[in-house]
């Protein structure tokens, strides 16, 4: 119909050109490219753990999201002078805390508080020692902009990483295109952190009745004392009831500190901090909101000797002469038990 032996040469050429163009545009049509498969990672929820924070549902960890989050977590370009990444203070072998009393940022700047560990955060309802953040995705911006930590800005970070082909690839695989936005950065870091679940300590194995795993005599004694004197606050599978309490620890002289009181404005929250999880406590010395205690022994000595009085001192102390009485033997057994909360596979990244 279109082409016969009588078709003019030019008409043929033109049709050929049009056909080629049509074919070319078809091959560039992105709807023909396969969609990258980015499966969700099923989080293994340990037995008896509390429910997930509802923001996990809105940001379920995916294969590439977690990979991307881990890469961002370890990237020193997040800091103004490219010396500090999240991993600089959140060190795996310390259960993603560190061994400094107060966190140290760029140029040796000393921060307000002790670095919290990153473990089982998917099951927490509050983040930071004062519970200032309720969504894990809202936390990463804080150290990025804080003068004593990374002293940068999210746009400064994006500027540094956006032409990195590895990031372009991971953002595309995770989110469908190469666009690097603040929200995508926070979400992928949170996805990575949600996967950091620790529930494989000796204690866990004993509770699961695993073959050949038993408490020693000391550990068993320690567990009994723990259940008598500690469990009311350090309760449940997370070893924290996630409440905020003033337990009369030595006070941070920095007047920026007011505990949860600076978030809520409630007098009863003054110098109240979230009950810390005792999981992996062996790895996260020093202890206290600003690292007041070098060792677990020092903490237990302090409880026994008596804590600082305050109007809002927690009843556990206020109603008991400001102390938790512990004999030297009690303390030895307790520390033996607390060490059973160490999850070697977690800190080794197995």
């Amino acid at each position: 119909m279109f082409f016969t032996e009588n078709t003019p040469f030019m008409k043929t050429i033109i049709w050929c050109l049009l056909l080629s163009l049509a074919l070319l545009s078809c091959s560039e049509d992105e709807s023909f490219e396969p969609i990258i498969d980015n499966p969700e990672i099923a989080l293994e929820i340990p037995a008896d753990f509390p429910s997930l924070n509802s923001s996990v549902e809105a940001n379920l960890p995916t294969q590439y999201g977690v990979q991307l989050g881990e890469k961002l977590f370890n990237d020193k370009r997040f800091s103004a002078d490219n010396t500090i990444s999240c991993a600089s203070c959140h060190i795996q072998s310390n259960a993603f805390a560190d061994n400094n009393a107060q966190a140290i940022g760029i140029e040796g700047r000393v921060g307000l508080r002790n670095t919290p560990p990153i473990q089982n955060l998917a099951f927490m309802n509050f983040y930071n020692w004062d519970g200032s953040k309720l969504r894990l995705e809202d936390q990463p911006l804080v150290p990025i902009i804080t003068h004593e930590e990374m002293d940068s800005s999210i746009l400064e970070v994006i500027d540094k990483i956006e032409s990195d082909p590895e990031y372009q690839d991971l953002f595309e695989k995770t989110f469908g295109d190469e666009n690097i936005t603040p929200e995508r950065i926070y979400k992928s870091i949170a996805q990575y952190e949600y996967t950091l679940i620790s529930a494989n300590s000796k204690y866990d194995k004993v509770m699961r009745n695993e073959e050949g795993v038993n408490f020693t005599e000391s550990e068993a004694q320690g567990y009994a004392i723990f259940q008598e004197k500690c469990i009311s606050c350090h309760s449940g599978a997370l070893f924290t009831d996630q409440s905020f309490r003033n337990i009369g620890f030595p006070l941070n002289p920095d007047s920026n500190e007011a505990g949860r009181g600076r978030v809520t404005g409630e007098p009863e929250d003054y110098m109240s901090f979230r009950v810390p999880s005792l999981r992996n406590i062996e790895y996260t010395a020093p202890y206290g909101s600003f690292g007041q205690f070098e060792t677990l022994k020092e903490v237990l000595d302090y409880f026994d000797n008596g804590v600082l009085y305050a109007d809002n001192l927690d009843p556990v102390f206020k109603d008991n002469d400001n102390r938790i009485p512990l004999t030297e033997e009690d303390k030895t057994y307790l520390i033996a038990f607390l060490k059973t909360l160490s999850d070697v596979s977690f800190v080794n990244g197995n």
Binding site: N53, S54, S55, A58, N125, N128, G131, S132, K133, L134, R135, D138, L141, V142, I145, T146, H147, S153, I154, L155, T181, P182, L251, N252, P253, S255, N256, E257, A258, G261, R262, V263, T264, G265, E266, P267, Y270, M271, D311
Partner: protein
């Protein structure tokens, strides 16, 4: 016929001149300038360091002398209200184009021009002291200019741990031995992800000021002169505040406000309590048409 032509020419010329004149009533919008005078009572604040002889000294109702080395605050969410009640919002969801940091040390910042205000007679001015909580997220992508303005070293108006802006930043000295005072206010209000609960305090305050004279936007661009009387910081409608240095729960002066409980008292004094007092330290000095 000849005269008709002349008349036509004359009328045409007249019309031409009339329409070309800038004095016609066809303006649809004009500027409104807001000026902020930061005072102790009726005395303009002169800033100074601890031992400054020039700094303006004020005495609070509690009897404490004090002077300032720094005064900064955020104004946003500006709305002008016409005599007939129509409310004209000024870029109220855009911190880059609708918010500013008033900085006593920088005279340029004491004037803020509102562009393209529709012609009309305005009887009321409303604005926010601070940033509304829905905008208080340090969104550097949406509002890069305001982020730079509020985060730059010389303003330090970012509240880092709260990932929001500092609404006011007042540094100074009190008592005869010049103890440091440092009053920062900001919001910590946060909702749980499932909406289950809300925590924190909202330090944003809405201010409503009746204009003593109508501000006429039309041929001319009016100026509204506002007074921010910082005597009210310590001697406010809401609270009489005594500054004290220390780290206990009732200490409030040094070197930073650390409990939102104490901070809220300063917020109520400066910005009103949000219900009965919608003025705080602000009042209209004059309207210039």
């Amino acid at each position: 016929m000849k005269y008709l032509k002349i008349y036509f020419l004359a009328i045409t010329a007249l019309l031409a001149f009339t329409s070309c004149s800038s004095d016609d009533d066809d303006a649809v919008a004009n500027d409104v300038t807001l000026t902020f005078s930061n005072t102790f009572g009726d005395t303009p604040i002169v800033l100074g360091d601890a031992t400054s002889a020039e700094a303006t000294v004020n005495t609070s109702d509690a009897g404490q002398v004090h002077h300032f080395s720094e005064v900064k605050y955020v104004i946003s969410n500006i709305r002008l209200v016409k005599a007939d009640g129509t409310e004209i919002p000024y870029n109220i969801n855009d911190l880059d184009n609708g918010a500013t940091v008033i900085n006593q040390a920088n005279p340029e910042t004491l004037s803020y021009v509102l562009n393209d205000i529709p012609v009309g007679d305005y009887a009321q001015l409303k604005f926010g002291l601070g940033v509304r909580s829905d905008l208080n997220t340090l969104d550097q992508v949406s509002f890069p200019s305001f982020y730079a303005l509020a985060g730059a070293n010389d303003t330090e108006m970012m509240w880092e741990w709260g990932t929001g802006y500092r609404f006011t930043k007042i540094e100074g000295f009190y008592d005869t031995d010049n103890k440091e005072m440092s009053i920062h206010t900001g919001s910590t209000i946060t909702d749980a992800p499932d909406g289950g609960f809300t925590q924190g305090v909202d330090a944003y305050r809405d201010i409503t000021l009746d204009l003593p004279d109508v501000a006429v936007v039309g041929n001319h661009a009016p100026t509204i002169n506002i007074k921010a009387d910082f005597d009210m910081l310590l001697s406010g409608n809401a609270h009489t505040i005594t500054l004290s240095t220390g780290t206990s729960m009732s200490d409030n002066a040094t070197p930073n406000i650390h409990t939102a409980d104490q901070m809220v008292k300063f917020v109520d004094n400066l910005g009103g309590d949000g219900t009965n007092d919608l003025q705080g330290m602000f009042s209209i000095l004059s309207v210039e048409n």
